[in-house]
């Protein structure tokens, strides 16, 4: 009561305090009753990492880039006999692909670095466990998460077409038109359909 420098009418602050609380009471609460109501997650939410096993070539980039080394990969080589080829080819077969979510810090570097789109973010987050060891998801479990991966967001309408699209357009125009297609203005994409999540 002694530090009133430029205070207005006495009691104004008291009334304002009452007004603020009363106004808040008349507004709807923004609380989401989580277990009863599914939360509305923003796009690109980071819940858990999903794996498409077929896309993985065991290049080990993800495991090497992982800041806390929580990806474990084992593989072996198989010989594939291609008829007509001079000798049998070798390919990598994935034996083990584990992500330890008790170590993972959800930085997403493995997903960024994967050259073959084998890893994806999914917004699923309800995989808490009572035993910390169960947070080690093997490749089957990581594969199951693929069902929950949302479709990728639509391209920017005003953005440049991707390299693949440009190449396809050039090929379609024929071998002679290659330079013409290169100098031609970029293909305007039709507006993408409104995709949900």
């Amino acid at each position: 009561m002694s530090d009133d420098g430029e205070r207005g009418t006495p009691g104004k602050g008291l009334v304002q305090g009452l007004a603020v609380t009363f106004k808040t009471m008349t507004k709807r609460s923004t609380t989401q009753q989580y277990p009863d109501v599914e939360p509305e997650l923003p796009p690109r939410s980071r819940g858990v990492i999903a794996l498409t096993e077929e896309n993985c070539t065991v290049c080990m980039l993800c495991a090497r880039e992982c800041p806390d080394w929580c990806i474990y990969i084992d593989s072996h080589k198989e010989e594939v006999v291609v008829p007509g080829a001079a000798r049998a080819r070798q390919r990598n077969v994935l034996d083990r692909f584990d992500i330890d979510f008790s170590l993972c810090m959800y930085c997403g570097i493995c997903i960024e670095v994967c050259p073959f789109d084998a890893l994806h973010w999914t917004p699923e987050f309800e995989y808490a466990e009572t035993d910390v060891l169960n947070l080690l998801h093997d490749k089957d479990r990581l594969g199951e998460w693929m069902r929950t991966v949302p479709p990728p967001p639509a391209h920017d309408v005003l953005g440049e077409p991707s390299k693949e699209e440009a190449t396809a357009a050039r090929k379609a125009a024929g071998p002679g038109a290659a330079t013409a297609a290169k100098t031609a203005p970029p293909v305007r994409r039709p507006a993408p359909p409104e995709t949900e999540r």
Partner: protein, 319 residues
């Protein structure tokens, strides 16, 4: 109706009010406070918007162990919650609900009785504080004693003003003498009484003796289980009692349209409206510091109450 039946009906009604009204107010506090803070409050107990939350709390309190500290003065320690709770039960006896004698026990000195019994509250605070053998409790108790003794004065002076205006100490008598223009005439006394009442029941912003963030609940620190629940119950009965007294003394009790039939409803509506304001104050205002608390009492409330007494006397003499 024979005397004994009459007596039983009255006592049962008062005990029912004593047990039900605080729960309603407590639940209202949960919900009102939550919504004022942009939350939902209890939502699960009892399946519909958490209506059974306080019942569940009560069950939980009953199950807890009744712990008394080793250094504590056991008998006093155990007695204190009862002493805190009992005066309010006695006060509820004399509060009139409606016209034509709808009161458990009409006393000619009702107002005097109420103020005297309310004063016992300070005893419970000191008993629990001293008997707990705990520094926090003792600090809280001393603060509580200073606060309760200080605010007793404006409370009594404000009540004296309305008694002077009505010319009677009987609570039903005061309501009968009440006229709507008294709302203006007795407004300063009403405000002083309400604020002092808030301090008497140690509600925020006057919860310096409890001050959970600095004194870990003050004189209630050492209490657990049912005894702690008694203190909590006493706080909510206190809200009901202060709201009821404000209603009876200053807001005209059962006066309102169809007072003959709906008088009891008017009283209850006014009690809950005042209780809402008490809850609202708790949400809106921060706790007063100890010196601010005493300053407000001695430099604002007491002079205003004395001025109101002079005003009341002057108007009485002129009329």
């Amino acid at each position: 109706m024979p005397l004994w039946l009459d007596l039983i009906v009255r006592v049962v009604a008062v005990v029912a009010a004593f047990l039900v009204l605080p729960l309603v107010v407590g639940q209202a506090e949960h919900k009102v406070m939550a919504h004022m803070q942009g939350r939902l409050g209890p939502m699960y107990a009892g399946a519909f918007h958490g209506w059974a939350q306080l019942v569940a709390d009560g069950v939980k309190f009953v199950q807890k162990e009744d712990v008394a500290p080793g250094q504590a003065d056991r008998r006093v320690f155990r007695l204190a919650p009862i002493v805190a709770l009992f005066p309010y039960l006695l006060v509820l006896l004399v509060i009139p609900l409606g016209p034509n004698g709808l009161v458990a026990q009409a006393l000619d000195v009702g107002l005097f009785f109420v103020l005297a019994v309310l004063g016992v509250g300070v005893l419970a605070v000191l008993m629990s504080a001293w008997a707990s053998a705990n520094k926090y409790s003792l600090l809280g108790g001393l603060r509580g004693a200073a606060q309760l003794l200080g605010y007793e004065l404006p409370l009594v002076l404000a009540a004296a003003s309305v008694a002077m205006a009505a010319g009677t100490l009987s609570l039903p008598g005061i309501i009968e003498a009440w006229r709507p223009w008294w709302l203006l005439w007795q407004a300063p006394a009403a405000i002083v009484f309400f604020v002092a009442g808030l301090a008497e029941i140690r509600r925020p912003p006057f919860d310096m003796p409890i001050a959970d963030s600095e004194l870990v609940f003050g004189y209630m620190t050492e209490y657990t289980g049912l005894r702690f629940a008694f203190f909590l119950l006493a706080e909510y009965v206190g809200i009901v009692v202060i709201a009821a007294l404000t209603t009876v003394l200053f807001l005209g009790g059962w006066h309102g349209p169809f007072a003959e039939q709906l008088g009891w409803l008017w009283t209850l509506v006014k009690i809950f409206a005042v209780s809402f304001v008490i809850i609202w104050f708790r949400v809106a205002y921060p706790r007063l510091r100890e010196d601010q608390l005493q300053r407000l009492c001695w430099l604002v409330l007491v002079p205003v109450a004395l001025g109101q007494l002079v005003l009341t006397a002057a108007v009485k003499v002129i009329m």
